[in-house]
């Protein structure tokens, strides 16, 4: 076939015209949403279960007949644990694919890279990762827990079952530092006292000195906010020094990186945590959720933690907004969600809060037992009081920032 300018132009024009024609031909063309979650690189341990739950949510929606009579289609991006790719893919999803909503981020850095972009491109953004709190942006919805929601329940219980003197060891970046502030606040309000707080850069692997300092300080409780593979060394060295069980431990993030699956029971038995979701929850909704997940993924079914479950909740909240607004149009969906959205799911009830765009959620207190969480107690509808203290999108709808919340 010879290709001259005329036939080239004709065929190009026909190709370009086709999707436009097709859009009119089929009324039920899909509603596209984007999932931007790390599937490779250092953070894939967080991103993979999150994407699995997002895929399940899309299946759930389509099984119920889709939205507005149209199927939902998930466009997947793998940002490879690299913040640069997050911005690139967020732009691509919004501009090229013109998706109705973007779901994703593992780290706060990734979220803050995408959030302003998606606001500029007028694409609703859902962030499911538990984080330090404070995001205030009408275009963004956050379905993960923030420190006030979990630590407020964790500390009174932990103090009651150990004693009043608390030693805090935390990762040296905003999540660790802000969490440490909240631990101090709720320790004090529970009648306890934080006797020392130590911060560790993420590359620290040798905790020998700290373990001896803790022993010398003789606290009643050690609270860890340690993050990542290097920091997992702490639990191992703590157990090797024979300290496990001698001083009780509580943590605000133990288990989100599947620490309790990697470490042996003898290295982490008894650690207390609190989350919006634990796979071990014994509710009919959770059993059904896990069944659907294993029916879909078979022996590749991931272990589901709060961040993964919150991704499912995020998609369901968005679907509520679309159903109520009867359109995927951005402002209509945002207004519909602000009018109220409730999702009953595997972790309990999640209620969208119009003032903060965060969620009231059921928080569950658990203790590591034999490599799994033993759910001790559940607290219904914990409010995101940290973000609520600084952010009010009803009064100031044009805000677009992340507050640094000081707890004290």
């Amino acid at each position: 076939m010879t290709l001259n300018r005329r036939t080239f132009l004709q065929s190009t024009a026909a190709t370009l015209a086709f999707p436009v024609a097709a859009r009119h031909a089929f009324a039920a063309d899909p509603i596209k949403i984007a999932g931007i979650l790390d599937q490779s690189g250092g953070l894939d341990i967080y991103g993979q279960p999150m994407l699995a739950c997002l895929e399940l949510a899309v299946d759930d929606l389509n099984a119920a007949g889709g939205l507005l009579g149209r199927p939902v289609q998930l466009v997947k991006y793998d940002p490879q644990s690299n913040v640069q790719y997050y911005t690139q893919f967020a732009t691509e999803a919004a501009v090229k694919e013109k998706v109705a909503a973007v779901f994703g981020n593992t780290t706060s850095a990734a979220r803050e890279a995408m959030r302003p972009l998606l606001r500029r491109y007028q694409t609703p953004y859902f962030s499911p990762a538990l984080y330090e709190g404070g995001v205030c942006d009408r275009n963004a919805f956050l379905t993960g827990s923030t420190p006030a929601q979990t630590i407020e329940r964790l500390m009174p219980y932990a103090l009651q079952h150990s004693g009043k003197k608390v030693y805090v060891i935390a990762a040296d970046y905003n999540y660790g530092q802000i969490s440490a502030d909240w631990i101090k606040k709720y320790t004090r309000s529970s009648g306890g006292e934080v006797i020392a707080t130590e911060f560790f850069p993420l590359d620290v692997t040798d905790f020998g000195t700290t373990i001896k300092k803790i022993q010398a300080a003789k606290p009643d409780l050690v609270v860890t906010v340690l993050v990542g593979g290097n920091h997992m060394s702490f639990y191992r060295q703590w157990a090797a020094a024979g300290m496990l069980g001698k001083i009780p431990m509580a943590s605000t993030c133990f288990g989100v990186g599947n620490e309790h699956k990697v470490l042996r029971p003898a290295e982490c038995e008894g650690i207390l945590t609190a989350y919006g979701y634990m796979q071990e929850l014994k509710t009919p909704e959770n059993a059904d959720f896990l069944n659907r997940l294993s029916a879909k993924f078979g022996d590749k079914t991931p272990y589901v933690n709060e961040m993964a479950a919150a991704t499912w909740y995020a998609a369901m909240h968005w679907a509520n907004g679309v159903k109520a607004a009867k359109t995927t149009d951005r402002m209509a969906v945002i207004k519909a969600l602000e009018a109220g959205s409730v999702v009953n799911g595997p972790g309990g009830k999640s209620t969208l809060d119009a003032a903060t765009h965060h969620c009231r959620m059921d928080v569950h207190l658990g203790q590591v037992k034999g490599g799994a969480f033993d759910v001790i107690q559940s607290f219904p509808q914990q409010p995101p009081s940290d973000t609520a203290a600084v952010c009010d999108l009803i009064k100031r709808p044009n805000e677009n920032r992340q507050y640094v919340i000081t707890a004290n």
């Binding site: 850069p201 692997t205 020998g208 000195t209 700290t210 010398a216 191992r236 024979g242």
Partner: protein, 288 residues
Amino acid sequence: MELLALTLLQVLNSIAGLALVSFGLAVIFGMMRVINLAHGEFIMLGGFATVFAHGMGVNIWIAMLVISPLAVGALGLVVERLIIRHLYGRMIDTMLATWGLSLLLIGLATTFFGNRVMGVSAPLGSFALGAYSVSWYEQVILIIVCLLYAAGYALLRFTRWGLMARATMQLPEMAASLGVARTRVFATTFTVGAALSGLAGGLLAPLAGVVPTMGAAYVAKAFITVITGGASVVVGSGISATLLSVVGTGATYLANPVIGDVALLAAAIVLLRLLPTGITGRIFKGYP
């Protein structure tokens, strides 16, 4: 009193840790002037070797002390034959080549072992020091490191093989003209260095999380230790590990781990400003 003993023990343990991760690099960089940026990945592979061997039912001591050094030593031999031997005397080029190797090994480990943290529990349990509880395993590492350094010193100082190795490193042409098979000496030295890195990884596996990217946490400190130590492989690394650990651990005790690292680096800078060729460039000169 007990607290003082506890602190002293911790300082000794920190020295042992730093000396352990530096020894393999000291042999490869100190003797052969090959800047091995894949040192951290050798440690990582040593860790994985122990984790997998132990997972397959091998006794943990055999996994750590035999399988890890053998596995990584074998890899070192292959690397020397395929890459490093073409680059002797070209220090900057070895840096580039081993950096590439480091990225390759991280990629391969991620692909085949998965990007997740693994590890084994520390054996032996703990003992009471008054009211305090201390890990036995860390004391075993301390003893092993002392034995390693003593053996390394004896080998280089008192044996015929050590003499040939040192001669080859100083003047390869002269050594070759006297009948030393220098390619074999180079290959052996690199293999031994790699095996020592593997041993370090194996011994660290019960204390740290073994993950494909773990090397980065060790390689910088190892380099600082070796360069501060200067020309003498064993004595230099031993002295600088001791000095830097005392400063670093002391600052960690008095302040926090960040200040501890800052103090360690500051000490290294001051030492190198005063003794540009390293500690053994001035004192203990000529000892192996």
